[in-house]
Amino acid sequence: MKILVCISNVPDTTTKIKLSADSKSVDTSGIQWVINPWDELALTRALELKETTGGAIEKVTVATVGTAEVEPTLRKALAIGADDAFRVDINPQDAYQVAAELTGLIKANPYDIILCGIESSDYNGSAVGGMLAELLGIASVSSVSSLSVVNGEVQLTREIDGGKETMVSSLPFTAIVQKGISLEPRIPSMRGIMTARAKPLQVVPSFGTESLTLISGFKLPAPKAACHIVDGENVKDLIRLLHEEAKVI
């Protein structure tokens, strides 16, 4: 079996987001880019399966849709342990375009298990995995928190309301994975970083897709209000502040 892990390149989760002058895009200057945390956990699980299933997993590939600027993120995935990487060369404008470009890639390079993070930590669209499965016409399992290979069969566990659901899936399928799929992401080792130099990173031209949506503007949330600490014995002050300043009573 071959596993493809779809990787999204996102700002580090501690980034302070700034918008461009027209508020139609995010100002990316000074941002440190990382592998989307859910995708990183998916990659970790894929590598664990490859290492522990005695040859059942032949290869772990990573793929992303983006310009050359996203390559450091792919090379980090190679340093962590992926065997090879694809980059579809286009700056995607929405989730549909990402899914459509990945569809073109996967049709030309078929995989048995396709893993997508449940969402990306930047736009939080939760859309690519489901769209991708639909465009490929293959099974899709959402909210997957466990993935294992037992006697050559792939078992998945999903989080459902009030419990868990375990299922098997025919191949190929897309698993949209969430936290719990692996314990914590791997840190690349010196050896991994060194061998990543020699691993293939193939750049594929765009499949000519178009986006379906247009962003008309972004708005940052209001800054957090200052915190007033009122002494426990000053109930009158507390009531006055709640009435006059917070205006909640």
Partner: protein, 379 residues
Amino acid sequence: MDFEFTEEQLMIRDAARDFAQRDLIRDVLERDAGSIYPTEHVKKLAELGFLGMLVSPEYDGGGMDTISYVLAMEEISKVDASVSVIMSVNNSLVCYGIEAYGTEEQKQKYLKPLARGEKTGAFLLSEPEAGSDATSQRTTAEDKGDHYLLNGTKNWITNGNTAGTYLVIAQTHPDKKHKGINCLIVDRHSPGISVGPHEDKMGMRSSDTHSVMFTDVIVPKENRFGEDGFGFTFAMKTLEGGRIGIASQALGLASGAFERAVKYAKERKAFGTEIANHQAIAFKLADMAVKIENARNLCLKAAWLKDNSKPYGVASAMAKYYAAEIAMDVTTQAVQIHGGYGYVKEYHVERLMREAKLTQIYEGTSEIQQIVISRDILK
């Protein structure tokens, strides 16, 4: 001149940062309080390849450059200098010494397990009565034909108990003074070696510091570095590189304390506003930032010289001297900015301050660095 790091150097920095911020931070306070050796973390350091990152892949090392080493040492030292000193001693004293001056047999037998992190190493130079004055070695390596007989006591030995391989500096020909000194590779478990109790230190409390006693320890002749009497030169040359490691450690202590001070100054309020808005605090932060930037540039310059096979002895002395001095200063200011909170352990900065003190003392005191630098100016 190019001030950009390569993608690979940044990846190594990030790997060290992830390891420090994810793993080391979890139990650093408990290990400091209890002087507990970081066994599991050292295992992980080995798995990630940090213990032998400077060693050539030919000898199972990471084959990384010294710039990457500076970046990794800084990140790990921001959180835990007790762990970074284990990494520094193993890489830049023990592995470097064997790789640069060892025979092929010595490299195969001793360097490979050290580079893989299966064993750690220790560098045994200081003695109860020979610290800065390293020429006055009382430990003797008596020439017995096909072997040396080692007798004496070494002090303040990092990895003293946990190391598997010792590099021991000892006097063979007292009449020749420092030209009679040899350096020998000694198996930690050789008969006649006893290790003193764990030193109860002010800082770096979870690193493994001991005195080591040798009583009629037999060391084969083939375990000597270089020609007879090469030991002092070996030690001085090896310490040149070691200084880059400790300079980077001091840099990390300073930048770690600085990051905490900035965060605190932006959160803590006094007189109706965040204390960062008071010039008294803002100017302190500006001074700290400039000092850290200077120290970082000195460390990277020394590393660049080493990577480009240029003389780096004075540059590494400048880096070690300056970084250690500003580490003491910056960590003290970080405690000051934190006020009372800085004086309690939970906020980490008092620990970084205690740890910074050692960087002015070990692997060549600040005063020894001043000697190295001034002698070069005045020669």
